[in-house]
Amino acid sequence: MTTKSRNLSIKQRGLTNFEAIMWIFTRLSALAIYGLILVGLIGALMMGAREQMNFADVMRWAFMPNVTHVQSTDLQDLNPWMSPFWKLTASALLLVATAHGVHGLVVIADDYIAGAGGRKFVRFLSVIMMVSLMGMGLWLIWTS
């Protein structure tokens, strides 16, 4: 069987342009999101979630480890849930997921907007959206 280009290893393909870099970023950030959610899940179980939270609350915490997501539970002490470690984890998850998601929107828009000017406008909008979402999210994480 002849080797198709899609079967080439990542090194052989080369990561030379923006699209190729974002292609690998999307895959690696997906793995990072998996890892960060796993950290949140394990952390919640270590901090008393086994007895004081239901599974839906644990998942809500894992998807974004921000203290406002566990305020409605039976937890006795919320202090460990708002430590700098969790604020940093939540910030990392926010930044990685926002970049991943906004780039995904650009990929979808590119399927329908093919003109050079339109694509430039989509990229301009996406940068504004990404920066403002990251700013608002960081503010929410560090002030809650």
């Binding site: 080439l8 895959r27 997906a30 793995l31 998601g101 979402l133």
Partner: protein, 124 residues
Amino acid sequence: MGLKREVGLSAGLRYKGPGGYLTYILHRIGGLGMAIFITVHILASFVGGRTGGFLNGMYENWAFQIFIFFCALFHAINGLRITILDLFPKLIEYQPEAIWIEWAVFLPLFGLSAFVILRTALGG
């Protein structure tokens, strides 16, 4: 440049490709759903007050929970399949099998969760 498709909307909607077609469109719907509603959630939490509370109240509706959980779970499982196959390109030969495994993981997990969400919502 420019789009030159000879396919109408109705023909496009009726198109049925192999397994990868369905996962492609569901991945896109899931990603779009999460992008829209997480953006709304961040904005609503940032604005706060009555408007923010109203928008965030959406997340307590069981129908919305089933929808957003479908988006998140399918996007996560399908994304893991794409990531694994793309980082190990030799595995792409087994894509149909990978898609079957994906459904075998997704359907029980989603079915069970949807059942629990519905039971909680309707059983009080």
